[in-house]
């Protein structure tokens, strides 16, 4: 599907209460267009739930379900199994959760569903912190980032640990499809959701979705930051289809400082810490490249 071929009909209507410039809203709005009407969606407690479904006003024009915080994959499982029983096995069942609800508290259910190869599409929209509760660090928060639980001051200097590599953890589950995407890379985004829709079995897509409120950047820079993330190697665009890894966009290896510049959450970082982060990025890319070569 090309950009201009995307349908006009919004299955995720305007009028939702996401912050201006919200990356997650861009993701939700567009991915549901690719997946189409024959989709059911489940979300945990997260920004997406609050801004798209506050009773009785809902943005979703497909069925939307919410249960708790840590069980998105479990609920998607239940929905899929029930639809199968009811003879509606062709319906796409999507669980969409933030990074907190996926990499941290949601991990158990996610891993269980993946190991069972449940026929669901799991989407993690990665805004790199627990944003809904006011910007607390998650396993997916990058090194050095300011959050309210990793603040900057006398004792702390932002997050002390590096970003959890969820895509590769999911690849290790040997599921049919794992991919990373970004709302700033349109065709790649469309390709991946289109591909995922057609595959049977457990699919995982982690979408990079900047958050102006939590990352402290200008609301207009959401897409720009996606591009900086990919160009610098902070975020690798790749996919793993039945064990075969393909890098979709080789990073230019722009210095990580370019990526850090527009974001207030990094403004305190020292040269030493920036170097740490740069080293991590280089190592990460080296590792990702090797993986692609190994699993070509």
């Amino acid at each position: 599907m090309k950009l201009k071929e995307m349908p006009d009909e919004e299955l995720f209507t305007r009028g939702h209460t996401a912050c201006a410039g919200c990356g997650a809203a861009i993701a939700a709005r567009n991915l549901i267009k690719v997946l189409g009407k024959d989709t059911v969606v489940v979300s945990p407690a997260c920004c997406l739930l609050i801004f798209s479904a506050t009773y009785p006003l809902i943005s979703w024009k497909v069925p939307y379900h919410h249960v708790a915080f840590e069980n998105t994959a479990a609920c998607a499982t239940g929905m899929k199994r029930a639809l199968k029983v009811r003879g509606k096995d062709s319906t796409t069942v999507m669980g969409i959760a933030g990074d907190g609800g996926t990499a941290d508290i949601g991990f158990q259910a996610l891993s269980g569903a993946a190991e069972r190869n449940e026929d669901i599409l799991y989407v993690m929209y990665d805004n790199e912190a627990y944003m809904n509760t006011g910007i607390q660090r998650s396993g997916s928060t990058p090194f050095g980032a300011w959050t309210t639980t990793t603040p900057v001051g006398k004792v702390k200097s932002g997050k002390a640990n590096f970003k959890k590599d969820m895509p590769q953890i999911m690849m290790a589950h040997n599921v049919p499809y794992v991919a990373t995407a970004s709302v700033g890379h349109i065709q790649d985004f469309l390709n991946k959701f289109e591909k995922a829709k057609k595959i049977k079995g457990f699919r995982y897509i982690q979408v990079y979705t900047p958050c102006p409120t939590g990352w402290r950047h200008d609301t207009s820079k959401t897409i720009e930051i996606c591009k900086l993330a990919v160009d610098s190697g902070m975020w690798t665009l790749y996919e793993c289809e039945n064990g075969k890894v393909t890098i979709n966009k080789k990073p230019k290896m722009t210095p990580v400082t370019e990526y850090l510049k527009p974001q207030g959450r990094f403004k305190h970082m020292t040269e030493a810490d920036i170097k740490k982060l740069q080293d991590w990025v280089l190592k990460k890319w080296e590792n990702d490249e090797k993986l692609a070569q190994l699993k070509a």
Partner: protein, 393 residues
């Protein structure tokens, strides 16, 4: 008519199979594990057509059941103790969403200390979860109540999830003769599932479980309360209909035995009811007028019925297999609430915790205490801890 010697766990699984459950979430925990194992066998030999999900935790088990139920199918799972505790978060979600999920709970002590035998302190914290809760005292009842549970839960006047409780090991692992029902009889009693409310369906778009502001909450809770108040009527209807079709009457909200002219009445939950039944017979033969109320439904609570019985007798005892620390057993608390204003001497007996046996002698002791209280009008001890070394009984 197939009468076999089966365990309570088998009976529970069998009841679920005959109820044609469509999604089963399976996770092991002693002493419930056999329930999910039996269900696995039923699926494997083609007797049960369902989606059997070997989940990775009880939290996922209940989540899967909730979402499957929200998507319009009959669901079932089983757990005990720690597993029930892990499900705790999702239980009020099931009831708040008005989903008729049915779950077998093999009542086992909740840690600490970690212990695998019978105690009711696993289900007591779920009193206010919005689930309908029944306690069984024999394996026939376990099978029958699973079928009845779906009928009760799915009734549009109720639309609440339900637990079927059975005591750890005493029922779960003990074989008793059970008339295993035929599929056609079960189908006649429990027809095809019709969801009581809006569901997730790609062809009929609704949303289930979204973020809800204060403006809708009082009404939502009131409706749940109303359903719980309607439930006793439905429970009695289902009991009568079941008895008519299957010839077995387990008693409805309570199963009173010899209470009409009793000088002393004991209220019990679970298998202690069955033991007490024998003691009542023995003591009656000795000319002692004792009666028993098998408290079957914990929620909804049969306040009016218990109050009526309390009004007519001389002393009421409540046997608890759980403790609300610093107060008394929880069943005693509920009884006193129902009996508010009545002058009848009332006593609490706490026993059988963590699998300690509740013997005939224990029950007899309780009745003797009650008869004494009935005669003197004075209660010797408000709360008696049974057979606890270092504590006067």
């Amino acid at each position: 008519m197939v009468k076999k010697m089966v365990t309570g766990n088998y009976a529970a699984a069998y009841g679920a199979m005959r109820s044609r459950v469509k999604v089963v979430a399976a996770y092991p925990i002693t002493p419930q594990t056999f329930i999910v194992e039996h269900l696995s066998e039923f699926v494997n030999n083609g007797e049960l057509e369902c989606e059997y999900v070997e989940v990775e935790s009880e939290h996922t088990a209940m989540s899967t059941c909730v979402s499957a139920s929200a998507t319009g199918v009959r669901t079932f799972t089983a757990t005990s103790s720690q597993g029930l505790a892990l499900m705790h978060e999702i239980l009020p979600i099931a009831s708040g969403m008005r989903l008729p999920v049915v779950m077998a709970v093999v009542n086992r002590a909740i840690a600490a200390p970690i212990n695998i035998w019978v105690e009711h302190n696993d289900i007591m914290p779920e009193r206010d979860s919005g689930w309908i809760q029944v306690f069984c005292d024999n394996n026939q009842e376990v099978q029958d109540m699973v079928l009845q549970a779906f009928k009760i839960a799915e009734d549009k006047r109720v639309a609440l999830p339900m637990t079927v409780g059975l005591d750890a090991f005493i029922l779960s692992h003990t074989v008793e003769p059970v008339d295993l029902m035929e599929q056609e009889h079960a189908d006649k009693f429990l027809p095809k599932y019709v969801p009581p409310g809006p569901i997730i369906d790609p062809d009929d778009v609704n949303d289930v479980g979204v973020f809800t502001p204060p403006e809708y909450m009082m009404e939502a809770r009131f409706n749940m309360d109303k359903a719980m108040r309607e439930a006793p009527k439905v429970i009695e209807e289902v009991n009568v209909a079941f008895a008519k079709q299957f010839g077995r009457n387990h008693g409805g909200m309570i199963d009173p035995y010899m209470v009409d002219d009793a000088d002393a009445v004991l209220i019990t939950l679970g298998t202690a009811s069955s033991t007490a039944h024998e003691v009542v017979d023995d003591m009656r033969a000795e000319g002692k007028k004792v009666g028993l109320v098998k408290l079957r439904f914990w929620r909804p609570y049969p306040s009016a019925q218990l109050r009526k019985i309390a009004e007519k007798t001389k002393a009421v005892g409540v046997f608890d297999r759980a403790v609300s620390y610093g107060v008394s057993g929880p069943s005693f608390i509920e009884f006193k609430s129902a009996a508010y204003g009545l002058n009848v001497p009332a006593m609490n007996f706490i026993g059988g915790l963590g699998g300690r046996d509740v013997s005939l002698a224990d029950i007899r002791f309780m009745y003797e205490r009650l008869l004494e209280a009935g005669k003197t009008g004075k209660v010797k001890r408000d709360i008696t801890w049974m057979g606890t070394r270092g504590v006067e009984q």
